[in-house]
């Protein structure tokens, strides 16, 4: 059972609050879709909750301990983080790229132990990348690389998973596969936070939504109660049609305000 809490966390850059007094409590078993317009502070909040950024005010905690005070390696063993648009810097094989997710679990010296090879193979299989195993990661397409990176984050079987736009650039089938896997992880009892721009997928699969707007948390709660047309109008400044939020057939549609 894990629990992430943010207590009045604030991050300032050049005198401007990018994340402004956010209070949030997220528990295992939840798939939280972090939504909001561009520049709302979603990515900054995610790296705060991942413990990669020290807040200028307030505190972010994992199971009651301030994230920035937890030993890096111990934190890395329970929490995986995937930034936006991850890139492979060297043309290493996809298999090796995914295996890098096991670094925090490796012994101090030596290579990958035999039983971990099986985990890498399973992660590749789940990401539908087995055929690309030996391909240099730099030659993958954007969507394939996104899947490889998600496999990298999941290969260590983390209790807490924070992913920044994991579905960007994925074709419909793999986007669905991706979000269904995230939901399955939450159902297994993991804590998953994913920033998303596809609100239909969020409405269908997220157990909870957290809505950021101008650095502030505009709303947080169960998807069926929180994701409403009124909220989307207020935050995204578009008229929206939301049907069946929180059910597997939900849709979210936008219409420009002028059209009505």
């Amino acid at each position: 059972m894990s629990r992430i809490e943010a207590e009045a966390v604030t991050v300032e850059r050049a005198g401007r609050a990018i994340v402004d007094g956010v209070n949030l409590q997220i528990e295992s078993g939840q798939l939280v879709a972090l939504i909001g317009p561009n520049g709302a502070g979603k990515s900054t909040l995610l790296s705060l909750l991942a413990g990669l950024l020290r807040p200028d005010g307030g505190s972010a905690k994992l199971d009651g301990a301030a994230l920035t005070s937890i030993d890096r390696r111990k934190l890395a063993q329970v929490r995986a983080y995937l930034p936006q648009n991850p890139r492979a810097e060297w043309p290493v094989s996809v298999e090796r790229l995914v295996a890098l997710g096991l670094l925090p679990q490796l012994p101090a010296f030596g290579g990958l132990p035999a039983h971990m090879h099986a985990r890498v193979a399973m992660a590749l299989e789940a990401a539908d990348l087995t055929n690309h195993r030996d391909q240099p990661a730099t030659t993958l397409s954007g969507g394939e690389l996104g899947r490889a990176m998600l496999a990298r984050a999941l290969v260590g079987d983390p209790e807490v998973l924070l992913v920044d736009e994991p579905l960007a650039g994925l074709d419909p089938r793999h986007a669905l596969d991706g979000i269904i896997r995230l939901r399955a992880l939450a159902d297994e009892g993991k804590l998953v936070i994913a920033s998303l721009h596809d609100l239909t997928l969020a409405a269908r699969y997220a157990t909870h939504v957290a809505v950021m707007s101008g650095g502030k948390l505009a709303a947080f709660g169960p998807t069926s109660l929180t994701l409403t047309a009124a909220l989307l109008r207020q935050v995204f400044e578009v008229d929206a049609c939301v049907t069946g939020a929180g059910t597997p057939t939900a849709t979210v549609d936008f219409v420009p305000q002028a059209a009505l």
Binding site: S47, A50, L52, R72, R73, K74, L75, A76, Q77, R79, A80, Y81, L82, P83, P86, R87, A88, E89, W90, P91, V92, S93, R96, L97, L100, G101, L103, P104, L106, P136, M149, R152
Partner: protein, 328 residues
């Protein structure tokens, strides 16, 4: 195509051939039979003296300096994820050169032979700490800080040449800057060796961090890597090892740039696996280059740094062409 298992063998053979050529090449031919025969004689004879006092320090120095340049180049390219990174880029080699030139400028080297390498090591450490202090925070700032520090050190070198007390001193500095392994003795090798070995340890400790950096800085951090520790180890290791090597040999370019690129495709581009082969190929390249300076029949011996630059430049063009092909 050579099989995977053949690469370590090939490397070992090249290294042994390089060492033997380095020991065997020189003004006089040393007959192995005479050497072997005199091995158990209590009184040292001339061939044995030539081997142990002239050729062996040179060979050992070539291996140490070459491996240092290859290892540091590989570690820095991994750290900065930049194919053009090499010890010179971060100001370390120019810092060592400036320290050594200061020793020559003030005539310290005349009164105390080890003053040149000692000041060289001090210069490298000073330059590296300046780069580390100014370049805190990120990869790009570190590269820019390194360029700035290199510029500062180069300005210092020009100033020393400008104000050289006499033409002979200026000549001595210039010759020293060209880089050479000739006429180095055991005391210089022994002075540099501990620093070089300490630097190797620092650089080797970065191996796993460099692998994690394949995913970029944010993901590396999320995997539990302390990037400021990685930067410190890489820069301190480079300053210690390259500083000490440069302080004894003078500036030797291109080995640190070339060696990692030569071996990278054969180890699947994984940064940690590049380190050792790159060090070995650095040693091999420098051994052969040094042998070449002794064989090439010119009136004055071609300086080692000049030769590596001459041979290395075409490679640089090849690298540029390849990058242009690869970039979209």
């Amino acid at each position: 195509m050579v099989g995977r298992a053949a690469w370590p063998l090939l490397t070992a053979v090249l290294l042994v051939v390089g060492v033997l050529l380095s020991l065997g090449t020189g003004r006089v031919w040393l007959d192995p039979a005479v050497l072997a025969g005199s091995l158990f004689e209590p009184k040292p004879n001339l061939p044995w003296l030539i081997l142990s006092e002239l050729r062996m320090p040179r060979t050992v120095l070539a291996v140490l300096a070459g491996a240092t340049l290859g290892l540091a180049g590989a570690a820095l390219q991994g750290l900065l994820r930049n194919p053009l990174a090499e010890p010179g880029l971060l100001g370390v080699s120019p810092g060592a050169a400036l320290g050594a030139v200061i020793a020559i400028y003030f005539g310290l080297s005349g009164s105390f032979a080890l003053a040149t390498p000692m000041l060289g090591i001090a210069g490298a450490l000073a330059a590296a700490s300046l780069t580390l202090m100014a370049g805190r925070g990120g990869t790009l700032t570190m590269i820019l800080a390194g360029v700035a520090v290199s510029g500062l050190m180069a300005a210092g070198l020009s100033l020393a040449l400008n104000f050289a007390p006499n033409p002979y001193a200026a000549y001595e500095m210039t010759i020293w800057l060209l880089g050479s392994l000739a006429d180095r003795d055991w005391s210089q090798v022994l002075l540099a060796a501990p620093f070089i070995l300490a630097g190797w340890v620092c650089l080797a400790l970065t191996a796993r961090d460099l692998d994690a950096l394949t995913l970029g800085e944010a993901q590396a951090q999320s995997l539990g890597i302390d990037l400021s520790r990685t930067r410190f180890l890489a820069l301190a290791g480079t300053a210690l090892s390259v500083g000490a090597a440069t302080a004894v040999t003078g500036t030797i370019g291109f080995i640190g740039l070339l060696a990692p690129h030569l071996v990278r495709p054969f180890v699947g581009h994984q940064p940690s696996r590049v380190l050792l082969p790159s060090a070995l190929f650095g040693a091999i390249l420098l051994l052969f280059a040094d042998v070449a300076t002794r064989i090439i029949p010119t009136a004055q011996e071609v300086k080692l740094g000049v030769l590596t630059s001459l041979v290395g430049t075409p490679f640089f063009f090849w690298l540029v062409a390849r990058l242009r092909r690869m970039s979209p």
